[in-house]
């Protein structure tokens, strides 16, 4: 190739070296971003059966992509150096080569076949209906928070989903308004929550751990789309059952005076119109998150704030300021009302 040109070996070796170094650096970048440590939403560390299956395809496709990248970059660079204009140089005049055309039609064909076969065989597993013993969960997207229901267990909660390890879970995806998308990268690829059209996905989480699996709405859904985050906790069967028992029951009734006053304030300020608190008479609103066990959650307002008393206060004093567009109004609560409400809410275990 280009043997008549002086310095061609240098050009080729130099190009290969450069492409090699660049590819290595990019690979380091990918490896770093794929690491769970420091990247809690990584798509590269599967922790469910279906996610692991998909990961096999993903790895293969990454490798194929890398090979094509190296090949084309190297050729482009080599040809640029080798055939750059030189005094007295002549361009060879030819119009094409049918045999080469056939060869390089076959190369991409082979590559896509190599992708297609594992893709489709994976889909034949993941698109099966969920196993019969699967735990049923309904995930409803709202502008801009998540409602989670366990119809068989009589539980309704928000923004934090509890799952038992090693048991399949079948998630029915719904929306109450616009299109959202349910995505917990380590557990499953995303599927949209489409209003008026229930979608399904299922997976079996394979690792119980204390840190949450982070998820986030992935389909642009309006003003606070960026603030529509959620968490999945995968627990041992025992821990899950303990959680479920508590979550299915009524709230813990307030005992301290301030909290009791908060209970009344919750009615007086009209919170009950939008929020349910099981065990509090008249608190059966459906517009906002179920607060029966609010104090058992780690975050508030769909992952926007940590659930600390100070943040609850911040939230109640002006939800808009925390989360643009939010559908909870600013109720202009007095400092005293805030004290009471925070005390009440913080005790709803």
């Amino acid at each position: 190739m280009g043997g008549s040109r002086p310095g061609s070996m240098i050009a080729i070796i130099g190009s290969l070296a450069l492409v090699g170094v660049v590819s290595f650096l990019l690979w380091m970048g990918f490896a770093d971003s794929g690491d769970f440590a420091g990247h809690p939403m990584t798509t590269w560390v599967p922790k469910s059966d279906n996610a692991s299956l998909v990961h096999g395809v993903y790895q293969l496709i990454f490798i194929l992509a890398g090979a094509v990248f190296v090949g084309i970059m190297a050729l482009t660079l080599i040809f640029s150096l080798l055939y750059r204009e030189r005094p007295g140089g002549e361009a060879r005049q030819f119009h094409g080569n049918s045999r080469l055309e056939v060869v390089w039609t076959l190369i991409p064909v082979l590559i896509v076949v190599a992708m297609a076969v594992p893709t489709f065989s994976t889909m034949s597993v993941t698109s099966k209906p969920a196993p019969d013993n699967a735990l049923k969960v309904v995930a409803i997207g709202h502008q801009w928070w998540w409602e989670f229901q366990y119809p068989e267990l009589g539980i309704t909660t928000a923004n934090e989903l509890y799952l038992p390890v090693n048991r399949p879970v079948s998630v029915a995806l719904q929306s109450s308004d616009v299109i959202h998308s349910f995505w917990v990268p380590q557990l499953s690829g995303k599927i949209d929550n489409v209003p008026g059209h229930e979608n399904h996905l299922w997976f079996t989480p394979t690792e119980a751990r204390a840190e949450p699996y982070l998820g986030q709405c992935a389909e642009f859904c309006g003003l606070s789309h960026a603030n529509m985050r959620f968490r999945v906790f995968v627990a041992s069967t025992g821990d899950f059952e303990a959680w479920a028992k508590s979550a299915a029951g009524d709230r813990t009734a307030p005992t301290a005076d301030l909290a009791k006053a908060g209970e009344q304030q919750f009615v007086a300020s009209g919170c009950v119109a939008c929020h349910t608190v099981k065990g509090q008479a008249g608190a059966a609103g459906k517009i906002g998150p179920d607060l029966s066990h609010f104090a058992a959650r780690t975050t508030l307002a769909s992952g926007t704030l940590d659930r600390t008393p100070a943040n609850i206060r911040k939230w109640l004093s002006n939800p808009q300021a925390v989360k643009p567009g939010v559908l909870m109004p600013n109720l202009n609560l007095s400092p005293e009302a805030l004290d009471k409400l925070v005390a009440y809410l913080d005790g709803l275990k």
């Binding site: 970048g29 971003s33 420091g38 990247h39 809690p40 990584t42 798509t43 998909v54 395809v57 992509a65 084309i72 970059m73 482009t76 040809f79 640029s80 055939y83 750059r84 140089g89 002549e90 361009a91 060879r92 005049q93 119009h95 094409g96 080569n97 039609t105 991409p108 064909v109 590559i111 896509v112 992708m115 297609a116 893709t119 489709f120 889909m123 034949s124 993941t126 698109s127 502008q143 308004d177 616009v178 299109i179 998308s181 990268p185 690829g189 995303k190 949209d192 209003p195 008026g196 059209h197 399904h200 982070l214 992935a218 389909e219 642009f220 309006g222 606070s224 789309h225 960026a226 643009p324």
Partner: protein
């Protein structure tokens, strides 16, 4: 006055504003398209830089959520419909007649009308910023977020009306280009001798002719939903939001090829000329382009893999999407084949073309990656896809267009752009582009969703977002270097001559800039590379007959009137019916006068 009859030295001197407003000369129209498209490209770039600035650090405070949503929506709309397409249309207008050996396009007045309607649409769409807020629902306008219930500001109505107006312009222009290419070719210019650029334009024209009507229907339905309370797409009243997605992407996917094919054409012109050898595999490139066009209509649902299509459509659309990788691969190999064995002159146009091959390839590879639905479950709506589209549309379409600027600017202005500034322009853009968009692959892998105006620290997204933002500033500087280059170049004396590159296509045989009638004598074409053939076979140009009466279409102000009518109809659709009526009257008057206008 400007009735363009006769001699070779007319109309070029007419430079008043009125002469531009009434022009039907494809070169002037092309020039206005290019300049306007470039200005909109700068505006879209400004929006992008603002978006990047907001995302530079976690919990950024530069733009609020609403402003951010308007900016990213308008960035896409501006770049696609007001920047890249019009800059492409500028080249089409200017070079189709020159390449096929014609004196103008088939319908010169219709051409002027397309231009004025495009400008009206662009201004209308951007005026929304000052009239209650720009569109904020994404360029894809997904239902039901685009409904009046969830998008109460008039922004999304501007989106509907603006795109309808722009679609009208593109549709007319496409018909005009297709007819010109098919009917106005010089003697000997058979279809398989057409420059590849012209082939790609032809494919683009058919893509638009077939896909824009679909979008138009969808937009009208959305308009009815928003303004008259119908429910085509609103699930709460029995409509289907997924229907909108199908309609949108049946248009939207071919649209991607509308953006990239012209640049593939430009590269296919620049590389052989600079390599000083014929294009490798002409027919393969042409057929691959046509195949991309046809297959491009059968892949739309790959934008919808996560909507719950079910496994069978997923497999079908996955297979068709992978299949489209094959003709794309063929093209890349053929460009490399063109460089192979050449004696490549590395001017700035070459840099941009070679840059195109490398960067477009990266976008092509990532595109094939998410053709696999399980992998797309990760990529969809993540920054990986943002990286992908920008490697295709910036690394591909824009690099190609810049190659075209450097290649054809001498023909259009008579002046060669400065090469030193050109190289600086290329390298800043190349480095900036890669710094901006490559890290987005990493962000996607780390799970960052797109279209979020803010993110928390601790997600591992900080570093690469900062790098991407710095990259976008470098990119912006690169684009400004180009502006400086143009200004500097326009101040010097013409120095290009007819043929600075040793070109193969017809435009290089005539003066730069070309006279209004293009060719003194309509050329006779004997080969795919006509000028090289004549050079190699010692064929002298046909002498100009002494009494050379060339009939050129006279200028006309009726296109302007019709465009004004269309603009009024659009304004009325956004405000009150009375203005629609007025617009209709103005349009009908314009069309009437147009029909009865003498043509010489």
């Amino acid at each position: 006055m400007a009735t363009a009859l006769g001699a070779m030295t007319h109309t070029q001197e007419d430079t008043g504003l009125w002469s531009w407003l009434t022009t039907v000369d494809h070169k002037r129209i092309g020039a206005v398209y290019t300049v306007a498209g470039f200005l909109f490209f700068l505006l879209g770039g400004f929006e992008a830089v603002m978006v990047r600035t907001q995302l530079a650090v976690p919990n950024g405070t530069v733009l609020d959520a609403d402003r951010y949503n308007q900016f990213f929506t308008m960035h896409a709309l501006t770049m696609i419909f007001l920047g890249v397409m019009p800059m492409g249309a500028g080249f089409f207008n200017y070079f189709i007649p020159l390449h096929v050996g014609a004196r103008d396009v088939a319908f010169p007045r219709l051409n002027a009308l397309s231009l004025w309607i495009f400008l009206s649409g662009g201004i209308l769409l951007n005026s929304s910023f000052f009239l209650g807020g720009a569109p904020n629902g994404g360029w894809f306008g997904y239902a039901p977020l685009s409904s009046i219930e969830y998008a109460k500001s008039s922004g999304m109505t501007f989106y509907v009306v603006g795109l309808l107006v722009l679609g009208l312009s593109s549709l007319m222009a496409s018909l005009n280009f297709a007819v010109t290419i098919i009917n106005m070719r010089a003697p000997g210019m058979s279809m398989m001798r057409l420059p590849v650029f012209i082939w790609m334009v032809l494919v683009v024209a058919f893509l638009l002719i077939l896909s824009l009507p679909v979008l138009t229907v969808g937009l009208l339905q959305l308009y009815f939903d928003r303004v008259w309370g119908t429910s085509f797409f609103s699930p709460s009243t029995g409509g289907d939001p997924i229907l909108w997605q199908h309609i949108f992407w049946i248009f939207g996917h071919p649209e991607v090829y509308v953006l990239i094919l012209p640049s593939m054409g430009i590269v296919s012109e620049v590389l052989p000329v600079m390599s000083k050898k014929p294009l490798f595999g002409y027919s393969a490139i042409v057929f691959a382009g046509a195949a991309i066009g046809v297959l491009g209509f059968g892949v739309w649902a790959h934008h919808m893999f996560t909507t719950g299509l079910g496994p069978v459509p997923q497999v079908v659309f996955s297979a068709s999407t992978m299949a489209i990788g094959v003709p794309t691969g063929i093209k890349i190999f053929n460009w490399l084949g063109t460089m192979y064995g050449g004696n490549i002159r590395f001017v700035t146009a070459t840099y941009f073309s070679v840059g195109f091959i490398a960067l477009f390839t990266i976008g092509g590879i990532s595109g094939v990656m998410h053709a696999s639905p399980p992998v797309d479950g990760h990529h969809q709506d993540s920054y990986f896809v943002v990286a992908h589209i920008h490697y295709v549309l910036f690394g591909g379409a824009i690099m190609g267009i810049f190659s075209g600027f450097y290649y054809w600017f001498p023909k259009m202005s008579g002046r060669l752009l400065d090469e030193a500034l050109g190289k600086l322009n290329f390298w800043t853009m190349f480095v900036g582009m890669n710094l901006t968009f490559f890290p987005m692959h990493f962000l996607g892998l780390a799970g960052m969703p797109r279209r979020i105006y803010t993110y928390d620290a601790g997600m591992g997204w900080d570093t690469w977002n900062m790098v991407a933002t710095i990259g976008s500033y470098i990119l912006a500087i690169g684009v400004l270097v180009f502006v400086v280059n143009v200004i500097k170049t326009m101040r010097k004396e013409p120095d290009a001559g007819n043929d600075p590159w040793g070109g193969a296509t017809l435009e290089w045989a005539i003066p730069s800039p070309p006279p209004a009638h293009n060719f003194d004598v309509v050329p006779e074409v004997r080969d795919r590379d006509p000028l090289w053939y004549n050079r190699d076979h010692g064929i002298a140009p046909t002498p100009v007959p002494e009494h050379n009466h060339i009939h050129m279409p006279p200028p006309s102000y009726f296109p302007l009137i019709v465009a004004l009518g269309v603009l009024l109809i659009a304004v009325g659709a956004l405000s009150t019916l009375a203005i629609v009526g007025l617009g209709a009257v103005v349009s009908v008057y314009g069309i009437w006068g147009w029909a009865l206008e003498p043509t010489d």
